[in-house]
């Protein structure tokens, strides 16, 4: 369990890779034993396949690390929380950028996985997220608010997904503007396995965060998003519509430059 001030830094946590939780390890161990049992019967190929897969599962359960999650760069700490962080440098003063983030109801424009944030009072707010398995919402409260420097929040007790985060605003060396660092942490249902499943379903928190930060940088520096959406090509019109676009313009851009 994260301490209330845990949002300040993740330095105290080991985030060397994804660790399996106790329930995950038990499940994996029984799966491994089951497979090995199946591997005692049948032909050579079958015995090798089941025996091998079973032994692998058992070894992973014993070691307690989730190599799939680690390979996907999913970081979990010793308490089983998934951590995501990234940074971007933007050529604008910290106070200005802080002001955009401090307006919590604007957060869904900055962080695209957020559906809605409703401010309840000066500390509490209600957050709604569209996840791979439907909509989830919870109440959060500000745990830190240092104008021009840092904003931190944490879900309140009883939230369906325990989570929190912080945004740091630091002057970049050499008058390059402001370094923005975002750190998010959440307890994924089913631990690191749940994080892997979520990622397989297309919700990739670290990629989302990266996209969010780059979009914010471009909104701030350019006032618009570079795009090739709708450009001419030798593809038929229908195919062009079907092509995935890396970065559709945010609501902020439409309100701004367009």
């Amino acid at each position: 369990m994260d301490n209330p001030n845990g949002a300040t830094s993740n330095m105290g946590h080991s985030t060397t890779g994804a660790r399996l939780q106790t329930t995950e390890r038990l499940l994996l161990a029984s799966l491994g034993l089951g497979l090995m049992a199946l591997g005692t019967r049948g032909g050579n190929v079958r015995r090798l396949a089941f025996g091998g897969a079973g032994a692998l599962a058992a070894v992973l359960a014993a070691r307690g690390s989730n190599p799939v999650a680690t390979a996907m760069k999913i970081q979990t700490d010793s308490s089983g929380e998934t951590r995501v962080s990234d940074g971007v440098t933007i050529g604008k003063p910290a106070a200005e950028l802080y002001a955009v983030w401090r307006n919590l109801e604007n957060l869904p424009n900055l962080m695209r996985h957020l559906q809605e944030v409703k401010v309840l009072d000066d500390r509490r707010s209600h957050w709604t997220v569209k996840g791979p398995l439907g909509e989830v919402s919870w109440d959060a409260e500000l745990t830190a608010d240092e104008p021009g420097k840092r904003i931190a929040w944490q879900s309140v007790e009883g939230a369906s997904i325990e989570n929190g985060g912080e945004v740091l605003f630091r002057p970049a060396p050499g008058a390059r503007g402001t370094e923005i660092v975002v750190r998010l942490h959440y307890r994924a249902p089913l631990g690191s396995t749940g994080a892997v499943v979520a990622r397989a379903l297309g919700e990739e928190p670290s990629q989302q965060l990266r996209d969010d930060l780059m979009r914010f940088k471009r909104e701030q520096e350019l006032g618009f998003h570079p795009t090739t959406e709708g450009q001419t090509s030798g593809r038929a019109a229908k195919q062009q519509e079907d092509r995935p676009q890396a970065q559709p313009g945010g609501a902020l851009a439409q309100g701004g430059a367009r």
Binding site: T89, G91, R176, G177, Q207, R210, D211, M214, K217, R218, E221, L222, F224, H225, P226, T227, T228, E229, G230, Q231, T232, S233, G234, R235, Q239, R243, Q245, A246, Q247, A257, R258
Partner: protein
């Protein structure tokens, strides 16, 4: 309009496609008067650059007349005659402000693809050069959409012919940057240039303009070597001589003070290294054949510069890093910061120091592009540089 289309590896065609339109208020539309095939387009023909899609419009060396501007375009007006740098830059991010235009933070809409492949960072967008570099439609066409219209396009107000200024879009600045970043000491330094294609030709002439005591050009195609000789360079045909021995001899055993690799990822050449590269490329575990780079490192004098305008795409194996370390070499590389050089190099053209049209061997229409891609790749018919007229 007519446009040159990438239809797959080794398949390039000319198709009729919709005219480009403004997509953002900072865009302009340019009616293209001249466009060229670049050596780096051959990497696309050969399928060496990942993330091309069937239907992509090729071409990144083009110029023409502005026919439409978005409402936020301030400097450019309809009727302006412009050359357009092959790379897109936003002009406001930190790399752009410092003059590192090709490292622009903001011009690549597909930054996540580049970040995944190139370690968390993405360079700027390029015209007609794969989706990793933004997927922007290129300029081997009759019209092109030019984003960041106030940043890239450079007005040509003198009466110089297209052929004299067209190569400001890429190969002249690319060759020039390659020479400039060697830090040539005028009257003293010997510069070797691997590859006598268009970029190598401009690198050799730029090294001369920057005062190199001697320029040595290495290739195997006789007419390319002849073109370099015409500029006063010494040449080595690596099919006829051992390159490293010839370079040692030419420099009294020191090696060239600086070496420019104007070949890049599709080097020919021979020896065990070349064989290994070829096998790795065939097995699809490597993009790059690096004979030229190996030779550059092995031949370069102590304390010298290995300057690499040639394009590399992936992970490189069996690079003689020990030799580079032992000699204290300096490596300079990357896409050209074209925007930096437009003004200064135009001045050199206007002053008559160089007429870039020397490099052109073939003039054709857009319809002939597919055939000329192959002529250029195979170095048939003395082909060194192709210029296309989209309206011919």
């Amino acid at each position: 309009m007519k446009a040159v289309i990438w239809q797959g590896t080794n398949k390039i065609g000319v198709e009729t496609v919709p005219d480009p339109t403004l997509l953002l208020p900072t865009d302009a539309i340019v009616k293209i008067s001249s466009t060229a095939i670049c050596g780096s387009d051959l990497h696309l023909l050969d399928g060496r650059i990942p993330s091309m899609e069937k239907g992509d419009i090729l071409g990144h060396e083009f110029m023409g007349e502005v026919v439409e501007v978005g409402r936020d375009v301030k400097k450019l007006k309809v009727g302006d005659r412009v050359v357009v740098p092959f790379n897109l830059a936003c002009g406001v991010c930190d790399p752009c402000k410092r003059g590192f235009f090709s490292a622009c933070d903001n011009s690549n809409p597909n930054h996540r693809m580049a970040e995944a492949l190139y370690g968390g960072v993405s360079g700027g967008g390029l015209f007609g050069y794969s989706h990793i570099y933004g997927g922007y439609a290129g300029g081997q066409a009759q019209y092109v959409r030019v984003p960041f219209a106030d940043v890239g396009p450079f007005k040509i107000e003198s009466d110089l012919r297209d052929e004299q200024v067209l190569f400001l879009t890429d190969i002249f600045p690319t060759g020039y940057q390659a020479a400039e970043q060697c830090g040539i000491m005028a009257g003293r330094d010997v510069v070797a240039v691997f590859g006598a294609g268009p970029v190598g030709q401009f690198a050799a002439r730029s090294a001369q303009m920057l005062g190199a005591a001697q320029v040595i050009v290495i290739d195997r195609v006789p007419e390319r070597l002849k073109m370099a000789e015409a500029a006063g360079a010494m040449t080595i045909n690596y099919e006829q001589e051992d390159v490293l021995t010839a370079l040692r001899e030419a420099t009294g055993g020191r090696g060239p003070d600086h070496v420019i690799d104007a070949v890049g990822m599709e080097a020919h050449g021979h020896g065990p290294g070349a064989l290994l590269d070829e096998l790795q490329v065939k097995a699809k575990i490597s993009f790059d054949r690096i004979t030229a780079l190996r030779w550059a490192i092995m031949s370069c004098a102590k304390g010298g510069t290995v300057s690499m305008p040639g394009v590399y795409g992936g992970l490189i194996d069996k690079l003689p890093m020990g030799a580079a370390f032992a000699k204290g070499l300096i490596f300079r590389m990357g896409q050209t910061h074209t925007h930096r050089y437009l003004g200064p190099l135009l001045s050199r053209i206007e002053a008559g120091e160089i007429d870039p049209s020397f490099v052109i061997t073939h003039r054709a229409t857009l319809d002939q592009a597919p055939e000329l891609y192959k002529t250029f790749r195979d170095k048939h018919d003395g082909c060194i540089k192709v210029v296309l007229n989209p309206w011919g």
